[in-house]
Amino acid sequence: MAAGPNKIRLSTNPTDAAIAALQIGDIVYLDGTIYTAREGVYMRVVEDGVDLPIDLPAVSAANFHCSPAATQHEDGSFALGAVTATASFRFSKWIGRWLAKSGAKLIIGKGGMSPEDYRDHFVPNGAIYLTTVGYGTGALLGRGVKQVRELHWKKELGLAQAMWVIEVENFGPFIVECDHKGNSLFERENAKIAANLDAAYAGTKPAVLKRFGETDDRKDEMI
């Protein structure tokens, strides 16, 4: 590997200046407190109007799209092994209201979100998107976990959808996928790859039987 990308330590309650300094493709390691929230939490808070169980963003401005490989023992203590993100594009319908409500500045997940989500929701709320690496470096991320601090809504949502509040140190790696201006690393890479696709497909032919809704424009995003 050559010199490689920039590596940066970042607080889970980052300043606007710290966020503005990050560029797509930078590698980030987090220090502080993160929490998990995905469709279960989003529906409960954004649609059902249930109050947040913790003070956000004071406790943390870092929302991890994640269900940890973890369990709670009968005495209330936790065992947490690996943590990896889940694909974020599925949470598009809630993300705008969630960012406004939670004050999250860092959305951490898998695969990024759409350019429209970045433009309409992330940029106005001063938030950026960090993607996990791999996927996924679950054991490396597990090493960055200092302790599980709280677990909320286990009974209501189950272990996978519950809200885990986790203290972390040198927690990473993550890659900056969307910066504070809404630029997307995946979009940039997709555009480069699209330039070669015709050559990669040379000689192949479309199926004799088409399918409804089929796109043959391989530059199209699938999300």
Binding site: G4, A69, A82, G138, I193, V208
Partner: protein, 318 residues
């Protein structure tokens, strides 16, 4: 007679091994891909994954936070007898799945599709799946667990003889490009292809080609083996690598399995295993010996037989 307690304890060990230890064949394949990769972001990702396998092993923690959907493949030698029979066997596998979910720990991924009920133990209706195969002779049972990730990288299409090899290549590329964007398929992976059968059989063949054959293995039909090589090269020539970044590592290996199909059709399925390729195998013998390995060795000549009779099946082995 194979003791049922031994089945359960072995199954628990397999659950742990699958979650934590990357199989050697895949690791060797990924190292070769990392050495050949020249995209800077893709290279960073592959190096991080290699580091991640080490961390998982050292700390005895799961490789990936999404520990997949545990399932079982059980293959029995014709002479094997399990204490309590198949009902006891299934109970032991369900218990081992539930126990390991909290002891490893694994992510309790399995929920009801509509009510989202989560038993927090990866057990529920139809979960874990348990599939069976049989071999002539042998007083052993092979327990194979596969914890494949669930959501992306799999597709099916009804092709026809007139689509030909070029149509197969087209659908192969379509699947890799569609699911490879943003790295949703968790590539580079072992890609399994099912050809023929019926829709359901084709999906089963492709999944087994991805999960039950190892890197470097080739189909015994030399022309199919050639197509496996060709598809592997084709996938790695897309210009895409890990996480959908510019690169050339999409396919660690391509395995094709075929089944006889309707004369008018040529069903095709594509399955991407993932960067964690979770599989573990143990053979339990009637005398109590247990041998662990990572090669499921599922597709024997017997599994691929195409004749009415199978000579070895006629004679009982001792």
């Amino acid at each position: 007679m194979i003791a049922i307690d031994l089945v359960q304890s072995t199954a628990e060990m397999l659950m742990k091994k699958a979650a934590i230890e990357i199989p050697d064949d895949y690791l060797t394949g990924l190292k070769a891909a990392a050495a050949a990769e020249d995209g800077d972001l893709s290279s960073f990702v592959l190096e991080a994954m290699l580091e991640n396998y080490e961390a998982a092993k050292e700390d005895s923690r799961a490789m990936c936070g999404d520990t997949g959907c545990p399932r079982w493949y059980v293959k029995m030698g014709n002479e094997a007898r399990i204490d309590g029979g198949p009902i006891a066997l299934e109970a032991a596998l369900r218990r081992a799945t539930a126990t390991a979910t909290s002891t490893v720990p694994l992510r309790p991924n399995r929920v009801h599709p509509l009510w989202r009920t989560d038993h927090d133990n990866n057990v529920g209706i139809g979960a874990p799946e348990i599939e069976y195969g049989f071999e002539p002779g042998g007083d052993w049972v092979d327990l194979i667990t596969v914890h494949k990730g669930g959501l992306f990288g799999t597709d099916y299409r009804m092709l026809f003889p007139s689509d030909g090899i070029q149509g197969i290549k087209r659908f192969f590329l379509d699947s890799l490009v569609a699911f490879g964007k943003r790295g949703l398929a968790c590539q580079p992976a072992i890609i399994g292809i099912g050809l023929g059968g019926s829709k359901d059989a084709c999906m089963v063949l492709g999944k087994r080609a991805a999960c039950l054959r190892i890197v470097g293995d080739r189909n015994p039909d030399p022309k199919i083996a050639e197509l496996e090589d060709e598809l592997k090269a084709l996938g790695n020539n897309i210009g895409m690598g890990a996480m959908g970044f510019v690169g050339k590592s999409m396919v660690i290996d391509c395995n094709i399995e075929v089944g006889y199909c309707h004369t008018g059709g040529m069903q095709m399925s594509v399955h991407a295993f993932c960067l964690s390729s979770r599989r573990a195998v143990a053979r339990i013998y009637g005398d109590g010996r247990v041998e662990y390995r990572t090669d499921p060795d599922w597709f024997t000549d017997y599994q691929r037989r195409e004749t009415v009779e199978w000579p070895q099946a006629q004679t009982k082995s001792d």
